[in-house]
Symmetry: T
Subunit: 150 residues, 12 copies
């Protein structure tokens, strides 16, 4: 029954608000809204309300995680460029101690060298990269599966 | 309708035959047979026959990919330790040109430094790591989704 | 005839708002306003309206580029310290696909080692560094020359 | 006599607003408010008014230093995660030319490798790390001692 | 009394079957058979049956360790060239959790740079290198001493 | 007169059995059988019998060199991916002390960084890379020339 | 009034004599003569005579700088490939102490890694790269601006 | 009440006996004796007897720590040059298990690269660097504060 | 029929004029003239005129390639020491776009570390190293084979 | 027959005098005296007198080796921390040309990175690490075996 | 008796012809002619004729060493900037096998990092750096001393 | 006139007391006493008394420099192995501010990699290496020449 669980946070970092409208050949033609709508439906079916948050600002993402992360059940995060540069986001996740899955639209391992390292991977449950908008769906399903087992 | 598609290969590298019987607290209590049985069922429902292959020998994995990879639709591979050391397996995949998903039971990014680099990631569709036996399921579903779109 | 072209964006990153008032022996005595005024005049003569934006916040620069970059003709950017640390700004430029010139007041190659690498240079038309406030003028003229040739 | 001196700025970077409420075994049980209250009292006794500023946003910290740093006597800064990633904060301090002490609650040299380098240390008067909330007190006293000598 | 203990495995990696017949000035004139015969006698006197295994194939060594390692008391391993390249052998040892001593005929630290790193040393009880065929004897005695203490 | 000399071994490593049938635009359209047939004829004319061996398994290549290398006159080896990862093959060649030429179909220096280092080059007579199937012919002729001079 | 100033040297390193005749899609269709003619005109208008020198020989460029650099007012240099390898040219510039601008036709930061470092940048007034033949014009104008201010 | 606690050791490494007499502009004009006298007074007030030891010899410092470290309450150490080269001092501290604070007169992070790494920092309670002779005072006060809390 | 083809250039870099007269045990006893005479004969038989050029001067080699490379059919180059340091020679080859084979008398991979990298290999058709004077013959034959196929 | 041989030196570096009294869970409960007594007995039985020397001072160890090393038959050395930092001890061993075995109580390869390199290993007969006090016994036996063979 | 010995070559690389006329505060006020005159006198007294050669061109230095090096007794070389970049000069010295001393006016170890490595030092008799024009005198005297001993 | 100058210190580091008696083929057959005697005579002729000091102990060398360095005119130092590992000796020299020449018997640049870096070179007047015992003589003469000029 939906609603009995804590929230699942979905966080999107910088430039992910451009999804679907720019470079569709690279990132797909679905907008972020469409992707999140699909994910929300799956989550609702499983009984987990979703709070979605997108920001281009590192500090705002940190703030969101601090506010909403404490009582949430889990998190899906695609930190975009901040994946590779932000220790602050890492620290905020550690501070609230929330279990999370790191997702990426593209396969970051076949892109520039500086995208191969993530400040989040070693504290995540797991990583899913390269499946376009589907990465969110698999990440969510994987997260809920883990939560259900606990 | 099952059967109309090419095979989906599932390859497991060295030591994965020990799953479920050794170090269950680390790798889970399900045996490789149980995991594959579950995955086969999902695949069958989608109409893709599965051929599973496990070997501790790099050369045998190369041989299997050469033989079966040419006509297969796709591949799920957990190359285990060979992920980090085998250029030969990489080359065999490139030779047959098969689309594949790289999966790992554990989150390799929180383990030893030498497990952070993969010779397969940059030629894979995507990577899924850290979800235990579920990594295979998400990998299979993600692969089939991609195949269906083409 | 002036005005028939798209905008030229001029972006200044963190601390460049301090120009002229602090450390004039290092950065010159002209304020940012004075520099931009001069540049705007040149641009206007060539028929390109200028939109200037300065911010100390990485996320705001990303947002500005997303909003204004889509319809603009070109961009002059001095990302200041973010030149060396921001993949997010790089990604926003790639997302809107705007041609741009990277400029610096000082010769960054004779400063600290960590200022020798730029996340923008390899996607810029070109780089102009070391001419104080004049770097903006040469950058603008160089940009317009390129635009005129297309 | 209090008040005759310029202000002493105390800056806390991202996630330090969580102090005392999260991970007390690691960072101690005193809240940031309590720590700052103690520090303010010491500073007041010495005749230096304190302005405290905490932010999760790199750009806001840069802005604060630009605004308040020009007329202040000195600064205590715990830039948190930005210690290791922000050249912009470094540049803002250099721009206003304020003497400062870098403090850390924890001993950063026994933590992850990426926390061993600081973009602030080489321009600070000195560094104090590892004494929990006391680091602020020692930093303040050390700073005032230096100021008194000048 | 001999026989009451579990087996002691002795594993020799690639090219060690050539011992005594090739390059005797470098590796000594005793054949692998002669060395093992000597070691078996010592082991038998202490009551530990020996199972010896030599292979040029990484996968076969992995398989042997999986099969025989589970019930064995301990292991002496000279993995030869695989010492420096095989994560798979490392993983198989970790999987069966067997205590072992790493031995080398030659002093690997005075040879090529690429022989200075071992994938086994940090999970071994200890390392003995440089004493020719005697390395096996000291390794065996050292191993049994440890086993007796437990 | 043919036959009076020792054998010349020709060794092909992993995936070279795919030659001619896969990726002909990259590796040429001649099969390995055709290439070897051509080479054998040249060698026969010079009086050197050829033994050809292809394997995807590192251990089998090691074994072949041990068995056949002792009495052979020389060797042509294209170790494929094992060129870059196998110390075991290097050691087996050193053990039998056979003079050899390293050949590659493609110019390995214009491929991925990890293909630039070879564990065989520094113990080879010489290296020939980049001439497709002809690399074998030039390698064989070069080897026989060296042998004839001794 | 032209002529009252010292000379401005324009130096072009190896292969720049090929401009316009080879690879025009990469380096543009204007020959070096045409480019220099344009630049000379601008310089003459400003009252600075130009001496142009192109050589493929490192030693000749060193000699030219020694002879002509002592009395010249400034220099524009595109050292071509020697930018990245010649300490001798650097030393000759330091010896005569001439102010100069480093220019490049292409954006060297988006080319091979070995073209990212310059032995001249840290002793130049500034760097202009990526604007094709225009780089010379901007470089010259920037240089004269600096000279006029002194 | 003084005397009821164990000793606090103060250790000064090589060349610190020169304090006050050489390079006062760099290290201050107070002699080591004066500094220690001040520190002893503070410590006495808190009830901790001080034993001071200065030596230019690594082995003597190791010996002092072994002898006096076992029963002492804590330690202030400025190991001077040995900070960056001595594993032996590190090991002696680990052997006696004494809590300690690492202090430096100068800010070692703005000096030569080889002074940025310390073999002591990661096993210290904390580090205080850059406050001249005051570093000892803050180090002592910080140490006693920690001891009082236990 | 000889003569209908463009020229084949043979270039020898610094010190190769010493061949045969100095260090014959290392480089063989044949002089450069003898080697080139042999090669010219082979080339003439195939209908390709040879132009040979040796120089100790980097700039002269660049000039030769510029002049003769445009109309030539192909090139054999042993750039000697410039192999490892000259970007200018690389650039001149790219400028004229001539297909070439890189040859070396000695096996450069068993010499000093700084001889392992070549600025020419990644733009060559292929590389032949280690066969003494024969390297030129195999290089020439390999080059002509390629040219014939086009 | 005891006594007819030269001495065997046993050298223990810094902090090894603490054995048995500190951190017994890590280094064992036997004191250095007990260990040496056991080793002396074995050596005496073989006819080699033992001279034992322990020092915390690098220079004293150098002096001991100079004095006693010239006429001794062999040496067992556990240089402790100096293993990783002392070139002086290495040089003194080379100066007297004494054959020696390097021993370590613990397995240094599973400790901190800076303990993985030894300045002694490449000039030792062999290395034995990880067997606690037994390392000395195996080292002594191995050394005598080698001496007997000569 | 003067004259009975072979020549001593003195070679000066790029920019050393500027000595005494430029940057005297750095390189001294004596011209190269004056320095060489002094050195020639010392050499004549010892009976060794001197041939001096200065060139800014790498290839000319290579040529000079080839021509004059074969019959000369020894060489003093200050290769200037080519010290750090020229493998060709190194090779020419190796080709003629002449004993030589490497000299530098300045202490190259306190200059830029890229001047710390020399391609000549490891094949020189010895190195003398930092004594201004005197470096030549000491180098010459040292060389002759060595020659006299042979 | 001898005696009017301050002392010249000559310092020899570890193992140099073995000179002449061990490894004469490497270090020459003259003892340290003989070398110093010769040097003292030269120095006396120039009017500089010599104080010679040899020690195997880093701390003693530091102490000697502190005591004798303050009033001395200059210093010749061959720090032996401490050249490469001792920051403490470097610091003691900086503390007393004495001009010095670094000398080495052997050419350290052709020995092990770890002997290529010196902690003294960048603060020395100059370096003389490779001339055996003569290095001291040239070093002394060079030092006195410099002192005379001041």
């Amino acid at each position: 029954m939906a609603g009995k669980h804590g929230n699942i946070l979905i966080i999107n970092g910088p430039n992910l608000n451009m999804l679907g409208t720019r470079e569709p050949e690279k990132y797909g033609s679905r907008t972020l809204e469409e992707i999140i709508a699909g994910v929300k439906k799956i989550s609702a079916d499983k009984g987990y309300p979703v709070i979605h948050f997108q920001s281009n600002a590192e500090g705002e993402i940190v703030g969101f995680i601090q506010r909403e992360g404490i009582d949430a059940s889990g998190m899906i995060i695609n930190a975009g460029a901040y994946t590779h540069t932000s220790i602050a986001i890492r620290d905020s996740i550690l501070a609230v101690g929330i279990p999370f899955v790191e997702v990426h639209l593209t396969n970051i391992y076949r892109r520039e060298e500086f995208r191969h390292h993530s400040y989040l991977s070693d504290i995540a449950i797991g990583v899913i990269a390269g499946f376009g908008a589907d990465s969110y769906e698999w990440g969510l399903r994987a997260l809920i599966n883990i939560l259900e087992k606990e």
